[in-house]
Subunit: 159 residues, 6 copies
Amino acid sequence: MENIIHFEDYQVGQARKTPGRTVTEADIVFHAGHSGDFYPHHVDCEFCKTQPFGQRIAHGTLTFLFAVGLQANFGRVAGHVEGYHRLRFIKPVFIGDTLTARLTVLQKNSDGGSEGTVTEKCETINQKDDLVFVMEQTLRVRRRERENSGPSKHPGRKG
Amino acid sequence: MENIIHFEDYQVGQARKTPGRTVTEADIVFHAGHSGDFYPHHVDCEFCKTQPFGQRIAHGTLTFLFAVGLQANFGRVAGHVEGYHRLRFIKPVFIGDTLTARLTVLQKNSDGGSEGTVTEKCETINQKDDLVFVMEQTLRVRRRERENSGPSKHPGRKG
Amino acid sequence: MENIIHFEDYQVGQARKTPGRTVTEADIVFHAGHSGDFYPHHVDCEFCKTQPFGQRIAHGTLTFLFAVGLQANFGRVAGHVEGYHRLRFIKPVFIGDTLTARLTVLQKNSDGGSEGTVTEKCETINQKDDLVFVMEQTLRVRRRERENSGPSKHPGRKG
Amino acid sequence: MENIIHFEDYQVGQARKTPGRTVTEADIVFHAGHSGDFYPHHVDCEFCKTQPFGQRIAHGTLTFLFAVGLQANFGRVAGHVEGYHRLRFIKPVFIGDTLTARLTVLQKNSDGGSEGTVTEKCETINQKDDLVFVMEQTLRVRRRERENSGPSKHPGRKG
Amino acid sequence: MENIIHFEDYQVGQARKTPGRTVTEADIVFHAGHSGDFYPHHVDCEFCKTQPFGQRIAHGTLTFLFAVGLQANFGRVAGHVEGYHRLRFIKPVFIGDTLTARLTVLQKNSDGGSEGTVTEKCETINQKDDLVFVMEQTLRVRRRERENSGPSKHPGRKG
Amino acid sequence: MENIIHFEDYQVGQARKTPGRTVTEADIVFHAGHSGDFYPHHVDCEFCKTQPFGQRIAHGTLTFLFAVGLQANFGRVAGHVEGYHRLRFIKPVFIGDTLTARLTVLQKNSDGGSEGTVTEKCETINQKDDLVFVMEQTLRVRRRERENSGPSKHPGRKG
């Protein structure tokens, strides 16, 4: 019953949306400790009151991580991430915001081998439908028909 | 005695290296739980034995996070990250690898205002001096001379 | 001064109550990441607003874990858990609820050896004295008098 | 593309297996801190050397949690857990063991309403195919055909 | 059955030992993230190889924290810590070391009120019985006989 | 560009202040789990309502840890902590309080070797400028001029 996504499952122009996840204070505290980034923008309420945004904001890397992680809850891609591109932080993300990633297939290419390349736009939106973060991601994904013809020679990495 | 890095402190071509940090099993377990990405490449030793890399590998997002977090331990930039670009995962990162980020200033631009834009290459290397991950980062950084002339009007976000 | 509970210390019908512990947002975030269960009932505030319970609820496994963990803060049982039975989730547990476990000895049996079997009802109640979770637990517990007659031959597992 | 499992998807006798997950030292440390259970069986190597199992063992509650959590990575059940039954810890689980849950549908019942009850056996096995933990779980699961006929009146809890 | 320790329970010269706890790599990773202390002595294996101790060492604050935390697993003191004194880090603590705290009552004073002051030496030893850390701690502890005469007026803080 | 603090950089009477950090509910939950200290003063809201302080308070060890950790975000000391002294918890620390450490050099001594001893007062204050915790710390710090004359013979531990 597990949902494995193969190269054939991607259609250019097709869009889908991940489940949502609320950014909590605990996530920001964890993220500071996990990354080692204790900038006062994330961990010092008093400093934040003196800033235009007025309250603690999520690390940009946390927003990125949620955008990627939400996809992993979605169905397993038979492949790996080759790269992320043009990451842009559009609006601040606050404690209590709920993020969802909207994925649109921009391009798919295949040289006829057992894998192909898929490029997707990943737009992260909050509960007000504001775009807070956008990037593109390039995946190497295996074809379904080659799955049963022996172990993949290039299972590669996964992002 | 805190070390604040301003626009004037960046010189094109200048390179510096962050301290190192070892990727532990605990980091990968933590990262899976923080991101929600439990792909077997990261959490299932038995699956990994059947793969070419033969052992668990770090999430690409973990390598990225360490590359960014190591910079935060380094001195505080008077500004924020506008974007990351061309993230490429070159080699797998294993448990026990020690990562360091090597930063090189590629470009700096200023329109004469209180801030300027700095573009850096960020190369993440392991203990064997192998390049495992590379990206570019664009920062908006305040000038030192404007620091004392009242509160910044655009303190903006921080990545 | 450590408090070790032996087979002789249990009396059928005897009841006791553990200290309390408040379920926090951080506990739910941890629990999602520890278990890998990111169902929107636990991590998506916007989804929860569309549901009858109206807000995030604790994982059933979190309530169970607190019920067991609170007992471990209580005094150490000279034995191990053989099994848990008839776990029933009666009412939802919300962020801010304070849980306490009420234990009642239902049965104790001994075949005359160095250990006996104890069955307890474990009722978990919140700050309004509502029963939120109930189960039974079966323990194998060593007798006190056998403690000093050499190392236990069957120290067994502990739940 | 998200995989939602409805009442109609269950067939009595049908079996499936979750992905695997390796129990790490970090998981046990985390579990002790999350539950508050610091029994020496889990956190004291020197004590464990004096015991028949000779090394630290996973908390029974950790094994249970992995068994439940692995199912959440699998596809989302349109329903909630009503109860767990007859939890039995068969063999100790050690650091480095990789656990998988094998689910078998034992029974399904429906009173003709929008939901039905499903009972499954959940067997947790390690990398040597040893059964380490077994239980039964009872789920309330919505029918697919009723999904589009307005918001569910009893979305209930989720375990 | 909970074990509450009162002023009357302390005897000058009396010694007791807490359960043990093994310092794991995960504990050090957590501690770095919790405290924000990412000195290479704790998180950079390659740096540590160039140092006389040759491997990662636990933060001094981690050793202190374990010494205090192990006491909390022991029985609850009816009081709070007023201060810690003369903390001295005698030997490095490595990953895999198992720590135990040995407590000796040095002094107890009472002005006849509902509380008294207790001073204890706390010696932290590893599995080779080497003293790795030593300190003194001063507690304010309630008398047992006053427990039932209404709510304490000065329950104070707890360390 | 990393900021390394040497023996020569300390001046008796000189004071400096670390960045701030807000104590969150997540920090207290994490601290309970990391230390094993689940006293109800920290984890049981209902108990706390019956106490004079009326709400959960931070562990004293958490306040101490933040005071030490904030210094590590500040610039790296070329040395290690020999000891902490006269730790006194002056006022309770609540969820939402923002802590900063104020360091004043009390004394510096050198026997002419490659290292010297520095004693500092560390005062931890909250956002209302109330002193909540005070201690002294003794550091062994290397001289700058000796840095390049070969590997340090006594790099010692770090607190």
